[in-house]
Symmetry: C2
Subunit: 295 residues, 2 copies
């Protein structure tokens, strides 16, 4: 997905959020803010917003010397989600359609995105998850997704945020784990999940987890490591979580399912879905013999 | 008031709103957006945001050849307010404290600000006005304001937006009009009221109306005409409506009362009042023998 004009004020706001999480020094904040404005003025709008978000976070990190400004928040999000995990696991277990509920919860967990909302407390999270649980997923999409999961031989699951990966675990537990690889970001960016988060929440104990070699808040294939790219090409099903992965892979011709919560008007317009929707959508570029198309 | 970092994403959003009201040509939109980002990167943050808003609107106007992009919306806002005027005039007339209600209504009318909300329909306006009418003004502030109006010999009333000036009329009708001059902007900017609006809503028939010689969305004294500046200096009471006038005059040492609806977090922080408040506040720079100070 290209960068829309409306992404620009949002990228400036993200810059401020990131600067404020990292340093209280207003001179540094001002100097980075000015540099970001200069870069935005010259940026290639054909690239996804996540590419510019990566540049911004590199600038912030270099100027402040803080390599992982959201480390503490990531820990807090993981802990918040781990506290909820047993109850949700029980609900999935007892559900009439465990895969559907697990998918919904995995998408609900996508609310834990500090790029969109820089402060998120437990109450807000629980209410956002409850909200998602009241919003039904399209039954036919779920049935189609379940069939494709069954048929796939080589599934690559691209995670999005820390905290959220605990909710992903609920879905991963319902998938054929011997055919599944989970990928996290290759380095810290906003609150995106890295290998440390995967270890912290116990994901590494139940499934193979690799990192993608890139610290973009999405999956910029040309920035990812070679090993990850090989896995990506070999996969016959890619499950991509969150807006960042959607932005960066929507134009990619892979067999991709996007699972996300629609959190901004730009993505909403691109997907033709209202803000707040939980979405399980097949990649617009994926066509197959069955002729199943994007909803 | 200086430009805070949080004003920057908002100025970018205002640029987009203004561009979209003016031209559908995405190449022009992109080129102006990039130019605004360059200007923001170099701007003097000690100047108020209204100074940059003026630069932005000049760029938009020059690039699009449209000198008054909001002309139609201004007409619509005036018409909307004129429709409500008789009912509100009746309520003021029958009120136990007509000046207080008129002041509240004048502040309520400040909701008609396309710089903050680019689309405002009649229902939203009525509900915003109702909201303001439920929020009481501080009694002591009103009594103090009434006393100062009574004592003043030379009152200058600085208007803000079209539509809103119809609500101002309610307050102006409760003031000693022989001692009163009303000022509007010197040229079109967003939906700020100009002399054409003052004529359209009949304000020119009941009081002297002058223009300030500037098309900044506020009162940048160094950009205003000489005649206006003379009136400003001679006034022993200046009633300044709206955020733009607050931004540009808060550091000015005149005998100023600000009447505004607090519409953004930056102004809220500066005034130490919550967003949504209707405020009648004496200038922070105004001290007098009575020692009345800013609330």
């Amino acid at each position: 997905m290209k960068t829309f004009f409306d992404c620009i004020p949002c990228l400036v706001r993200q810059t401020l959020d990131s600067l404020r999480s990292t340093t209280g020094d207003e001179r540094i904040q001002e100097s980075i803010l000015r540099e970001v404005l200069r870069r935005l003025a010259e940026m290639d709008f054909q690239r996804p917003p996540a590419a510019m978000a990566q540049v911004i976070h590199h600038l912030v990190r270099e100027a402040t010397g803080n390599g992982d400004p959201h480390l503490e928040k990531k820990r807090r999000l993981n802990d918040m989600a781990l506290k909820l995990y047993p109850e949700f696991a029980r609900r999935v277990e007892q559900s009439a359609d465990p895969l559907e509920l697990a998918a919904r919860l995995a998408i609900a967990g996508n609310v834990m995105d500090l790029g969109v909302k820089s402060n998120l407390d437990e109450d807000e999270m629980i209410s956002a998850v409850d909200d998602c649980l009241r919003t039904p997923l399209d039954r036919q999409s779920v049935a189609e997704f379940a069939g494709i999961v069954d048929d796939a031989e080589n599934i690559l699951y691209l995670t999005d945020n820390s905290g959220e990966i605990v909710f992903d675990r609920l879905l991963i537990e319902r998938m054929p784990r011997e055919k599944l690889t989970v990928a996290v970001r290759g380095g810290p960016i906003i609150n995106d999940a890295t290998i440390e988060d995967a270890r912290y929440v116990g994901l590494t104990e139940i499934v193979e987890v690799i990192d993608n070699g890139s610290d973009a808040p999405g999956t910029l294939l040309d920035d990812c490591g070679e090993e990850f790219r090989r896995r990506f090409e070999r996969a016959d099903l890619i499950v991509a979580k969150g807006q960042g992965n959607y932005e960066t892979l929507a134009d990619s011709p892979g067999p991709i399912y996007f699972l996300l919560r629609v959190k901004c008007p730009v993505i909403a317009r691109d997907l033709n879905l209202p803000v707040g929707t939980i979405a399980l959508v097949r990649s617009p570029c994926w066509s197959d013999a069955a002729g199943v198309s994007r909803k």
